[in-house]
Symmetry: C2
Subunit: 386 residues, 2 copies
Amino acid sequence: MGELTLLRDGNPWGTGTPTDLYIRNGRFVAAGEPDRVIDLAGAQVFPGLIDAHCHLDKTLWGARWVPNTAGPRLADKIDYVRRRGVEFGVPSADRVAALLRHMSSRGTTRVRTHTDVAPHLGLDGCHAVREAAEQVADRITVQQAAFPQFGLLTNPGTLELMDRALRTGLAQVVGGIDPAGVDRDPVRHLDAVFGLATTHAAPVDLHLHDRGTLGAWQLELIIERTRATGMHGRVTVGHAYALGDVEPARQADLVAGLAEAGISIATCAAHSDPLPPLHAMGAAGANLAAGSDGIRDLWSPYGDGDMLTRARQLAYRADCHADDEIEVALRAATFGGAIALGHSGYGLREGDVADLVAVPGATAAESVVTCGERALVMHAGKVVAP
Amino acid sequence: MGELTLLRDGNPWGTGTPTDLYIRNGRFVAAGEPDRVIDLAGAQVFPGLIDAHCHLDKTLWGARWVPNTAGPRLADKIDYVRRRGVEFGVPSADRVAALLRHMSSRGTTRVRTHTDVAPHLGLDGCHAVREAAEQVADRITVQQAAFPQFGLLTNPGTLELMDRALRTGLAQVVGGIDPAGVDRDPVRHLDAVFGLATTHAAPVDLHLHDRGTLGAWQLELIIERTRATGMHGRVTVGHAYALGDVEPARQADLVAGLAEAGISIATCAAHSDPLPPLHAMGAAGANLAAGSDGIRDLWSPYGDGDMLTRARQLAYRADCHADDEIEVALRAATFGGAIALGHSGYGLREGDVADLVAVPGATAAESVVTCGERALVMHAGKVVAP
């Protein structure tokens, strides 16, 4: 039997009172005679934070500031990222590993990252992310989606590369992008994405930026396809701006459809982008996860790799003022992410994997609003920070 | 002659190169033989940050976390704030002073605060803010607006209290609130507000939350009234959500009207509220300032009293990616605020008052995005932080 660790005087989320936590062999266990004791001084304890949507392969983390000089149009930005990516040696396993170390020091224990796959890039991004993930495997767990950033059907050779990434185990998730707005042929795009998912028994995680009725209609297609392929619980849609900007009656139908099909939404609450309806989704039982999106890269200079500040941003953007409303946002950055990523054994109960973050605060909501220093981060029972 | 201070190896905003700054008797002066030298280690130097719109009187700063249990309707929230304000001893000069000290430690050197004035409160808020401002007058300069939060015409006795606050010098600015949406009689509301301003030779700073066509129409009324009273350069509108959500052609007309009338807009870039059009305003010469709004109070648990994080939030919400775009947001938290508050002698040139904040960063934009520790804060030549 491994060493028994006692975490004393923490406030596990939901208990409302200081409660001892015991950890052995990487999991929460029943009370016993501890071999070592860590005092949490009344900090709130949450399950490890989950970044359900990021782009680690693109990061410049740790590099000097790069003034963004991309033009205003989407095509300008894509061209800019391609051109300067070569200049700055993107992707870099070292930078990805540095970012992952930072993320874990802020309490994130599990990540799903979307890695660009395209003929002009090959699988370099997937290799860099895997190499980085292996370096920090004892601190943070990384899932990789093969992501057709530059188009799937519209960029011949991409599907074959995605297939290879999944076949070789480099990627574990099938990505997709705006079946209509970007890839121009929504049905064939979903044929390709769900086809790969079926072949490799892999989950699906599609980007959907298209807004309004076009985006809403694609959500319907994705709901239908998820049902038809029996993929309940294994499909996520990232951003899904349309869910936040369609008219209320259709929004309610979509939320009900997502709940029934077991589809997760991953939001980054970014910029002024439309937000998914947190409270309506909660009421309907539709799962919401949260993520960082790009972190300090050639697309965007923003991002701090901290899922607690991201939870605060989600709460703030959604006008969550009451403690229980703020906890809905925190739920997206914890349990919602675990559902989206398909992690079982997630939580603070006996038997769960001992991934956790402890943060000063009188209540969970205060911890989210103040985003203080992390008193303790554990990944599978191992102390990661401070 | 006072002592000559040399700030060495800082990057004054706009110079693009390390430039020595000399300070004597509270102002920037020409080079000379310094009595003391402060090394800025390459930090960016900005004029002191300006919080052009906050509500210091309401703050619970420094108190224990208060879970917000207000109901969802506006009337619930107003009732909640009244009821619990008594319980928590709001307003408190000590808390206001503690918040002002914190704000100054983050680089804010000038503030305009909107203080609730109403018969059930009297001028207690104004007295508390003045007492606090006097305690910290060597660190930060406070302007106070008498603010009819609970209505002006609809709350008899408020106008007389505002008049008294201005007459006695407790307040220096005439506040107002949604002439149509809250006070129900827009023309008479503006009669009252601009009447007080004329009587006391005071500037005007109106809250305007009303959205869409109702808000846009009131902006027109305010523009007309500003012209008619010759108050060019002495009127500010806070929030002005309508400016961010009207149709583009009308938005352009309003921006041109604001520029021509010399009216400033003060935005807090809060929650998911509509943003004023930063770039269109800049192109038209319409002034934009920025503020914190409420900071840790019974209305809202959010706010950190840091105008650099507020500038970042404004830049992020407005999708500013390029360095020069990010600097537009920083301008709102500096020069834009100085214009709104009517401060002359503001800047980093010889003769300007030596209010400044130095922040690590290779460029101004990096300093905004990273919001690092403040290397130096000065208020009128006095070191305030660290």
